[in-house]
């Protein structure tokens, strides 16, 4: 639709993309840099505050003038680690298992929608993304009733199944985009060398899409770890995940800001670190494979 004639440029996420030189002098450059940094710090401030507050005593956290200097303590973090351990284990299990399951299901499916596509590829793709768009709230009631009737409420396997279903569309779309990037010549060359399907997978497709699988896994991990709606409604105690643990802080009695901050920090830490390390993969995943 656009009338550009530009050819696709080289890899984009490197920081080296040279911007055209501004014709104005260095002062506007400095001003922009300052502005950028100001905005970056402002956006980051609530997180900074969260981490700092996690080190406070409750009385230091409830001051009308926010305290920046105080005697730090690890007691909140210790407290939280104690209490949140079983929740963290559940989150870990649900996230890992569902991500593995998703990759196992999505890679073959993506293969069948890209390299060796079925006839109704477009329809199938449409179906997958439509499941992503349908509101969860429309199915929570029957899910609750049915799962209750088979006695499987508060069960980690139910969560694993649901998280797999939740991430499957994204994974299929993403893996498809990665598989499509494998140059046709490479596949044909391997075929001509007499490679069967298994060999093709082991020696060509998986190595070439390994970063893609990693990116897919990253996105699935993020969404599964942070998932709240199903967790809060379908678990009670045995299989509750970290987001459910945080619910306990609503309307808590007494003073709890510092402990809450410590809990929020620890809860977010895994995904934040993963996202920091894998920023490039993040873009790919968030756009469901459309944007590199």
């Amino acid at each position: 639709m656009s009338t550009q004639t530009s050819t696709p440029s080289k890899e984009t996420t490197s920081d080296v993309g040279a911007a055209p030189k501004r014709s104005r002098g260095p002062t506007s450059g400095t001003a922009l840099t300052v502005l950028t940094w100001f905005l970056a710090l402002t956006f980051f401030f609530p997180i900074f505050w969260m981490v700092v507050t996690g080190f406070k005593n409750e009385s230091d956290a409830y001051t009308e003038t926010p305290k920046l200097f105080f005697a730090p303590t690890l007691s909140q973090f210790n407290n939280v680690l104690d209490k949140a351990a079983p929740f963290a284990v559940n989150s870990l299990v649900a996230t890992t298992a569902s991500t593995i399951l998703v990759v196992l299901l999505a890679v073959p499916a993506a293969y069948a929608l890209s390299i060796r596509p079925v006839k109704k590829t477009q329809d199938v793709l449409f179906f997958f993304i439509s499941t992503k768009m349908l509101p969860l709230v429309a199915v929570i009631v029957p899910l609750y009733v049915i799962i209750g009737q088979i006695g499987a409420l508060d069960n980690i396997w139910v969560m694993i199944v649901l998280y797999t279903a939740m991430n499957l569309p994204i994974a299929v779309w993403m893996m498809r985009s990665f598989l499509l990037e494998i140059p046709g010549e490479v596949l044909e060359a391997a075929a001509m060398d007499g490679a069967g399907l298994a060999k093709m997978w082991r020696h060509v497709m998986i190595p070439m899409t390994a970063p893609g699988i990693a990116a897919t896994a990253l996105i699935c991990v993020i969404f599964a770890w942070n998932e709240f709606f199903f967790a809060v409604n379908l678990t009670a105690s045995a299989s509750s995940t970290v987001p459910v643990y945080l619910v306990g802080f609503i309307a808590s009695q007494g003073l709890y800001f510092a402990q809450l901050s410590a809990a929020a920090t620890l809860a977010s830490l895994p995904v934040v670190i993963a996202g920091w390390i894998a920023q490039k993969q993040l873009v790919r995943g968030l756009s469901m494979g459309a944007i590199k």
């Binding site: 609530p46 993304i129 709240f228 873009v283």
Partner: protein
Amino acid sequence: MTATAEAPAARGSSAATQQQSGSDKKQSASREGWVRRAPLLPALIFAIIVTQVPFLFTLYYSLQSWNLVRPGSRSFVGFDNYIAVFGDRVFREAALNTILITGGCVLISLLIGLGLALLLDRPFPGRGLARTLLITPFLVMPVAGALLWKTTMFDPTFGIVNFVLGPFGGGDIDWLSTYPLAAIIIALVWQWTPFMMLLLLAGLQSQDRSSLEAAAVDGAGPFQMFVSITLPHMRRYIELSVLLGAIYIVNTFDHIYMMTSGGPGTASANLPFYIYQRAFLGFDIGEAAAMGVVVVVGTIIVATFALRVIFKSFTQETS
């Protein structure tokens, strides 16, 4: 970098099917079809069972009057629930809130995200670090973020926001009671701006530098270049960001549950939250199911239009 090319149709299998005759060809063609389908089936069947079957049940429940805590009250009532739903003022308010929250959040985070992407599209000291800082709000667990905004930021007495606004005379506002929607939108914008920024930044960085340089040489100012070269190029990315963002934000539940519980009253309830309330706090299964169906139908209508745009975006060949 543009989206992926169209699926190369017959890669790897053309050689195999070339040398066959007549009915053999039909047989092996259908077998070929199954060979191709096989890897797809596990994922497809899984998705159908877990997502479509429950929805059929929702349809079934929506035709019943069923209050969970009054046993024996379950009975078939046809479309009564739907009539009640459309007559419920709170349902209409929740629908309006959903539109306000989604529209407001998407628009604001898009604009701020675009601004940030433009700022990050140039080299400056500490660029990588600034970018890392800026994407963090999106990585923080949404439930945790919502809790933080509710307590350490928006608390009327001890929160940062009122502290910062104090010198400007606004230090007394009880955000969650007086401006619940605004508070929720602020928290959501904080979380989603990095999402927009990342996608738009990728779009900016995929611009063809040579045409920009050529324009600069021709004497075009930065604003002109932005309007006539950058924006058209960005159109696809903007569309994609808006649509993907809207898909997620329309289903916002975490923030409303954690920050306001839909309150005060039902002032900040959106459709997902209101349906949750009717089902799990009000125990009116029939009505909640009917609402669910109505929301799905609404989503399908909007989505059909939206999906066409996404499809163009995803499967467009690079021109």
